[in-house]
C-alpha cells in the first residue's frame, strides 16, 4: 500500500510520521509539498502534526487554504484514505473535511503527556487491528485540542459512529466535549485525531500501542 506525507512550513512531526509509515509498511511514503496541485497515486495521505504557519489566525486555518488541500479534498471524495494527526487534524477540520472545531485547551496550558484512548469504533479502515472498547496508550502534545461541535453536529457525529477514539480513564487532557479524541467523516475514509500514534510504535518508544492504527490503514495486519 502506497502512502504520502504532506509537508507545510511549520509542520515538524513529518519525519516521525515518515519513519512510522516506513517501518510499518516497509515502504517509504512519498512527500508532497503544500503547493502541489496534483497528488501521486497513493492509497493513504497523511497530514502530520506541528505548527503550520505558526498557528497564526487559528491552528491549521492557513494551511487548510493551501493548494494541496484542494487536491486532498478531491482525493478524499474519490475514496482515498486521509489521516490527520494533531495539527493535521486541525487542518482537516479547518478545511471542512471533518465536522467540528478544535479550541484552546480548557486548562490554557500546552499538554505533553501520555493519555489512555478507548477505541470506540473498531470497524473502520483505521482501527481494524484493535478491538471495540480496547484501551490503548498514546502520547499527546498540543495547545489547541479541545474538540467542540454544536449540539446538532455532536448528535450526528455520535449517532453515525464517527467518534473513533475517546480519552479514557479520566485522561482527557484538553476539555474535549464527550472526551472525543478522534473523529472520522461519514464515509469513513478521513480520520483526524489529536494524539500521536506514530510516537508509540516500537520498543524504543516504550510501547507499540499506536502501531495498530497504521497496520490497519496500511493493510499490513499480522495474521
Amino acid at each position: 500500500m502506497k502512502s504520502a506525507v504532506v509537508q507545510l512550513p511549520g509542520l515538524n512531526r513529518d519525519r516521525d510520521m515518515i519513519a512510522a509509515l516506513t517501518k510499518i509498511s516497509g515502504k517509504a511514503p512519498v512527500t508532497v509539498w503544500q503547493t502541489e496541485t496534483e497528488l501521486p497515486d497513493v492509497d493513504l495521505i497523511v497530514i502530520p502534526g506541528g505548527f503550520s504557519y505558526g498557528d497564526y489566525l487559528r491552528c491549521g486555518a492557513i494551511a487548510a487554504r493551501m493548494p494541496v488541500m484542494q487536491a486532498i479534498k478531491a482525493k478524499a471524495e474519490a475514496g482515498v484514505k486521509v489521516l490527520g494527526v494533531c495539527n493535521g487534524f486541525q487542518i482537516l477540520l479547518e478545511a471542512g473535511l471533518l465536522p467540528g472545531a478544535l479550541m484552546r485547551n480548557a486548562s490554557l496550558k500546552f499538554v505533553c503527556r501520555e493519555v489512555k484512548l478507548e477505541v470506540v469504533n473498531a470497524e473502520t479502515d483505521f482501527t481494524r487491528a484493535y478491538g471495540k472498547g480496547q484501551i490503548i496508550r498514546c502520547p499527546v502534545a498540543h495547545h489547541d485540542g479541545n474538540y467542540f461541535a454544536d449540539a446538532e453536529t455532536l448528535a450526528s457525529v455520535e449517532g453515525n459512529g464517527q467518534v473513533v477514539f475517546r480519552y479514557a480513564e479520566d485522561t482527557n487532557p484538553n476539555g474535549s466535549v464527550n472526551d472525543i479524541a478522534g473523529v472520522m467523516n461519514v464515509k469513513g475514509n478521513v480520520l483526524g485525531l489529536m494524539p500521536h500514534p506514530e510516537n508509540l510504535i516500537e520498543a524504543a518508544h516504550g510501547g507499540s500501542d499506536g502501531r495498530g492504527l497504521f497496520a490497519s490503514v496500511l493493510d499490513v495486519i499480522a495474521a
Binding site: A101, L108, F148
Partner: protein
C-alpha cells in the same frame, strides 16, 4: 480606498477558556462584578476600491473563507 474593520467573536454556547481566565485575572486585580468576558479578534483592512457594495461583499467572502471559522465564530463588518 475603503477602510474596514472586521470583528470576530465566539458564538454563544462556545466555551471560552481564555475569557474565563481574563475574568479571573480582573477579579484578582480588584475589579469586582465583571462577568461574561469573551475574547475575540479584530482585523483592520484597507481595500483598494471605492465601491462600498463590492467591498462589503468581498469582506463577507473573506470572513466565510478565512477570517472566521463559522463553526465556532460569528463576524461583523464595519466600513468607515
Amino acid at each position: 480606498m475603503i477602510k474596514a474593520r472586521v470583528t470576530v467573536t465566539l458564538k454563544n454556547g462556545v466555551l471560552d477558556p481564555q475569557g474565563k481566565a481574563i475574568e479571573g485575572a480582573l477579579s484578582s486585580l480588584g475589579f469586582d462584578g465583571v462577568g461574561g468576558i469573551r475574547q475575540g479578534k479584530v482585523f483592520d483592512l484597507e481595500l483598494a476600491t471605492a465601491d462600498r457594495a463590492k467591498a462589503e461583499a468581498d469582506l463577507k467572502a473573506m470572513c466565510e473563507k478565512l477570517l472566521a471559522n463559522t463553526v465556532i465564530e460569528n463576524y461583523t463588518i464595519a466600513l468607515s
